[in-house]
């Protein structure tokens, strides 16, 4: 009894030594995550690299207005971003399907081998994916060698510089890279399903298909919905690496997503202020969407996701 009381008192009594230990680690958090936020002020000035902010003209919301009125570049970039985001959303069901198929395999060894091989690409960088894609799909690539060797095509094609192929080709690449990894969370969910459910269904005369459809799918739907809600918050953050690596003068028109545009505008054109303004708008939209997704999750599931 005395012990319990002591503990309660200890809980209320704060120990400032802890702050002293924590401080050295919170300094980098402030320096690298909070200080950059002050950089947002340059979105309101006509700021050029190399000059002082104090000598820059205050222009108010000029760059935000430019963002809304720039119909040529902005609409193209937003269109690309939304297309990639939608394709990502459409293919987000594939890891679940892959996990169900993998679970139906009787030979555990076969399933484990397939799983190990298909998960590996998740851990290599986009630079390496590009290097492989170059070796396989470029004009001198092995795909052309094989196709021409078999007499299936007359002249070599270069998928990496094919504007018409950009959307589906990039989507296939990202599916290739992430499908195996994405399925692991579903496999974990499937292994958590009670075996009794399957046995009871089997006794009732349900075949394999009906058991998969009526037990497996509903059981992992919860996982799918949580991941879907989480992805809403990241809907317009389709990524940077993949598009940055795969861009070339031919495909840039369709590959340029918001993050890549911010990069090119800022660091290649030195248009610091406008680039910062676009980045700000993007951050705010993302925050609102994360918040919205969280509220939605609270309503649908009763618990928040973040």
């Amino acid at each position: 009894m005395v012990n319990v009381n002591n503990r309660r008192i200890n809980k209320r009594k704060k120990n400032y030594k802890l702050l002293l230990w924590l401080l050295p680690f919170m300094i980098p958090v402030v320096l690298f995550s909070y200080v950059p936020l002050f950089g947002w002020v340059i979105a309101f000035f006509e700021y050029r690299p190399g000059s002082m902010l104090s000598s820059a003209n205050f222009v108010g919301l000029k760059y935000f207005r430019q963002f809304l009125t720039d119909t040529i570049d902005m609409s193209r970039v937003i269109k690309n971003t939304l297309i990639f985001a939608s394709l990502g959303l459409a293919t987000s069901v594939l890891p679940m399907v892959f996990a169900i198929l993998l679970n139906e395999v009787r030979s555990r060894r076969y399933a484990r081998t397939v799983q190990s091989i298909t998960t590996f690409p998740n851990f290599i960088s986009w630079v390496i994916v590009y290097s492989m894609a170059f070796a396989i799909f470029s004009t001198d690539g092995v795909l052309n060698q094989i196709l021409m060797g078999l007499g299936l095509t007359e002249s070599p094609t270069n998928l990496l510089a094919d504007v018409k192929a950009v959307y589906w080709f990039q989507t296939l690449l990202s599916v290739w890279k992430s499908l195996g990894w994405g399925s692991i969370v579903y496999l974990a969910a499937i292994s958590g399903i009670s075996q009794e459910l399957y046995e009871a269904a089997a006794v009732d005369g349900a075949g394999h298909f009906r058991r998969a459809i009526h037990i497996t799918v509903p059981s992992i739907m919860e996982t799918f919905i949580v991941l879907l809600l989480l992805s809403i918050g990241n809907f317009i953050s389709v990524g940077f690496d993949q598009y940055f690596i795969f861009q070339n003068p031919v495909t840039l028109r369709k590959l340029e997503v918001l993050d890549l545009y911010v990069y090119r505008l800022g660091l290649l054109n030195n248009d610091y202020s406008y680039s910062t303004a676009i980045g700000m708008v993007k951050s705010l939209i993302s925050l609102i969407m994360i918040f919205g997704a969280n509220q939605l999750a609270k309503k649908v599931r009763g618990t928040a996701i973040i």
């Binding site: 200890n10 809980k11 009594k13 704060k14 802890l18 702050l19 680690f25 919170m26 980098p28 958090v29 690298f32 995550s33 909070y34 200080v35 950059p36 936020l37 002050f38 950089g39 947002w40 198929l101 139906e104 081998t113 397939v114 091989i117 298909t118 590996f120 690409p121 851990f123 290599i124 960088s125 630079v127 390496i128 590009y130 290097s131 492989m132 170059f134 070796a135 396989i136 092995v142 060698q145 290739w176 499908l179 692991i184 974990a188 046995e199 089997a202 394999h208 993050d259 911010v262 800022g266 660091l267 610091y272 680039s275 910062t276 980045g279 700000m280 951050s283 993302s286 925050l287 994360i290």
Partner: protein, 300 residues
């Protein structure tokens, strides 16, 4: 319960094995292609190679590692991977432990302050200006300091430490041990699964990163292997200069020996070299996939 399969079930099984097998092959083949290309004789590989080695040879590896800048970039990549991982593991595990202490003043506020960093960022240009203002550009430190504290790793450790029975600490605290002693003597040894998780995933992240190199480091002395590969993939010019140019007699001699190298061969060989370390830690990582998913979920 395992009765005779119905005909439709058998058809499905065959179809299923086939589909999974095909996708497995699609994932495997690019890696296989890299291996057969880089381990073949350069001139034979250059004339076309698709499924098997053509004149097995280690020539590519022997020569590529001698090329100017490659050896050093391997060292830089190893250094940032080891240094960055040690630093982030120490920072995140210690912070995770500190945040698990209810007696910390302002704990909720500070913890929220950390979590917010996962969702709000200044954006590219403000970040770039900040790094420049700290004079971190063209230094090795830019690879390991800014990413030192990762909020999701702290969450992982905190969640793990909170599950440990409090009695484990109590005797040490009664003996007068301070927070750091408890952390290093008791918490750290008990947290190996979660430490291994953040260490392996962190190490792969460090090894794979090139963007910090591209944005903040123009001094080629600090180039990492990933970035060199990126540059070679992007400009054949860069690569041919490397293969042709030589300023010293010794270097020219070396280049004469390397004259059989082809641009594609060099690319493939460097790609293989960058994959090898990941391939080596992969079996180890598979043990921590389940916890890694949590990393992925928190990250998302």
């Amino acid at each position: 319960m395992v009765g005779k399969d119905s005909a439709s079930r058998t058809v499905f099984n065959i179809f299923n094995y086939f589909v999974l097998g095909i996708f497995g092959l699609i994932c495997f083949y690019p890696f296989w292609y890299l291996i057969i290309y880089s381990f073949s004789k350069p001139e034979l590989a250059n004339s076309g190679i698709s499924f098997w080695f053509k004149g097995f040879s280690l020539y590519n590896f022997e020569q590529v590692l001698k090329l100017k800048g490659i050896g050093r970039s391997v060292l830089i990549s190893v250094a940032r991977t080891v240094g960055g991982t040690l630093l982030t593991v120490f920072a995140c595990s210690f912070m995770g432990y500190l945040f698990s202490k209810p007696e910390m003043p302002f704990r909720k506020f500070l913890y929220r302050m950390l979590i917010i960093t996962m969702y709000v960022g200044g954006g590219l240009i403000p970040y770039y200006l900040t790094i420049s203002a700290y004079r971190l550009t063209n230094t090795f430190w830019v690879y390991i300091i800014p990413g030192m504290v990762s909020a999701y790793n702290v969450i992982l450790v905190k969640t793990f430490v909170e599950q440990l029975p409090p009695s484990l600490e109590e005797s040490a605290v009664l003996d007068g041990a301070g927070y750091f002693t408890v952390y290093s003597r008791i918490i750290l040894p008990l947290s190996t699964p979660i430490i291994a998780t953040i260490a392996t995933f962190g190490a792969v992240g460090q090894w794979n990163s090139y963007m910090d190199n591209h944005l903040f480091v123009t001094d080629s002395r600090w180039n990492t292997l990933q970035y060199l590969l990126y540059k070679f993939l992007n400009s054949t010019q860069e690569l041919t200069t490397l293969l042709q140019k030589g300023n010293t007699a010794a270097y020219q001699q070396q280049m004469k020996e390397a004259s059989q190298l082809t641009p594609m061969g060099v690319r493939m060989t460097i790609t293989v070299i960058t994959i090898i370390p990941i391939f080596c830690v992969y079996p180890f990582m598979q043990k921590y996939f389940a916890k890694g998913i949590l990393i992925g979920a928190v990250k998302a």
